[in-house]
Amino acid sequence: MKRGNPWLWSTAVLVYAFLYIPLIIVVLYSFNDSRLNAEWVGFTLFWYKALFNNTEMLLAARNSLIIALCASFCATLLGTMSGLAIHRYKLKVLPVLVFTPVAMPEILLGVSILLFFLQVLNFTLGMVSIIIAHTTFCIGFVAIIVRARLQGMDESIFEAARDLGASPWQTFRLITLPLIMPAVVAGALMSFTLSIDDFVITFFTKGVGEPILPIQIYTMIKVAVTPEVNAISTLLMLLTLVMIIIAARLESNGSSEGSAKPHTAKQAAK
């Protein structure tokens, strides 16, 4: 095998630059002492101060946080159940319903939920419709993570528990749940991040009431761009970064536990 093909390396460096330069620019200009995102003038924290004095923005952040917490709670609950059910039973309908919202363009989910709420439930759109819409597409992500974890585990543990006289509920509470816990938490963090970042579905299901963070950012970008957008962007990046690190930690800790390994090795050998 060729080591260090210069052509490959240079393309890789270019792609990484393409991925990172835009984000670095956003962060850099959040500290720039100029209204225009054009040239570097000097260091300032003015945009962060402006952000924390922007009551509308703070309210939007609070609302988004509430939505993300509720949606990730519901999605984790239903997603874990789906992951367990799909892994354990031969189901035909549930996998299709769980994974389709993940694969299809978000706009379709947004449109259909908008129509459903306005026509059938005769319901004003707002936080509740956003929470439900977010839950619908986050269930799939949680289910994927939980199912992957279950697939890597040795079935004989559950049989042993049952042979020793544990009821299904006891087996679940004492064996299954502790074992899948890292995946459940990772799924919860992932749905939280997806929910707080989601723009398209929120845009369709938001209604006219409360300010929501992504919509607020969208309005700022469309109407009047100031480096305040950069400041909120930088803070959000920081938040997602922390979430990702925690989730990655949990998942890698989970998969390095002894019980999972022999089984995956066996599967790989097949």
Binding site: V15, E39, L97, I107, S112, I244
Partner: protein, 299 residues
């Protein structure tokens, strides 16, 4: 046995119920809506005629679909969306393939870091990633100045980079690139390096080793990566909305306008159904191609 069935119901029942109510039912409503008449002030006309008002539009109709085909501009927007999706997929493939090969051939420790570096920007807010290109391509940006100085040296009139089809394509590639890198990497990582050694021993040059060994083996990864890029691009409205000009409307923008602008729900629903059909056929074609490609390999 009875206990087992109860457990099964308890575990699969709640998510099934939730998704039937909030995913299946809304989808059916969308289909139904596409066959209705728009209301006078947005929304929908009633299905049954209102009392004392016999004339008017009510009930079911295929008007929305006929309207789509009555003006070529809508077909054109669909074709344009497919072209943008195809272009984005191709550019992503060209950028992602060398990177995925490099990651797959790196040492294990480096490999995980490189994959993480691909995912990380993807975790930042979607709007922010688009906004970043507004700064870079803006008329006051260093890139714009540079491009226009170069063009000026050749006596070409200055161009605006932002609010153009070019900006839309750049934004689309930027937002979807990780979707291409990851499946490619997962596939390439599984290749047996001794195959390439064998090819080399048999006298294949670098190009032949790539074209006759690596590429055919990587086709499943190419297909799944392409589907993961093509499908979301087809329905995307935020990128053209923010980075594109008034002429760069795609299917997503058209759908958005029907619900949040002109409020023609039946037409918006009909467009959504057609987008769904487009997505389903793309997904079906990809699976079919991938299957026949891997089938060939087995022979």
């Amino acid at each position: 046995m009875k206990e087992k069935r109860l457990a099964r119901l308890l575990v699969s029942g709640p998510p099934l119920l939730f998704l039937i109510v909030f995913f299946v039912a809304p989808s059916l409503i969308m289909i139904l809506t596409s066959f209705r008449f728009p209301g006078e002030f947005g929304g929908l006309a009633p299905i049954t005629p209102p009392w004392g008002k016999a004339i008017g539009e009510y009930g079911f109709t295929s008007d929305a679909y006929q309207f789509f085909f009555s003006d070529f501009i809508y077909t054109e927007i669909f074709l344009k969306s497919f072209a943008v999706a195809f272009g984005t997929t191709l550019i992503c493939l060209i950028l992602a393939y060398p990177l995925a090969v490099l990651i797959a051939r790196s040492r294990k420790h480096l490999r995980n870091l490189m994959v993480l570096l691909v995912i990380l920007p993807f975790a930042s807010n979607f709007l922010i990633r688009i906004y970043a290109w507004m700064i870079i391509l803006g008329p006051e940006s260093a890139l714009s100045h540079f491009v226009n100085t170069v063009l000026g040296a050749f006596g070409i009139a200055p161009v605006t980079l932002l609010f153009s089809p070019f900006a839309v394509l750049v934004g689309m590639v930027y937002v979807h690139l990780p979707f291409m890198v990851l499946p490619l990497y997962t596939n390439l990582e599984k290749h047996d390096p001794s195959l390439l050694d064998a090819a080399q021993d048999l006298g294949a040059n670098a190009w032949q080793r790539f074209w006759r060994v690596t590429w055919p083996l990587s086709l499943p990864g190419v297909f799944s990566g392409s589907a993961l890029v093509f499908i979301p691009v087809l329905g995307m409205f935020a990128v053209p909305d923010i980075l594109g000009g008034t002429g760069d409307i795609l299917i997503g923008n058209l759908i958005k306008d029907q619900f949040l602008g002109t409020r023609d729900w039946p037409f918006g629903s009909a467009l959504s159904i057609m987008l769904t059909l487009a997505v389903l056929s793309v997904a079906g074609l990809t699976t079919w191609f991938a299957r026949s490609a891997t089938g060939q390999r087995a022979l």
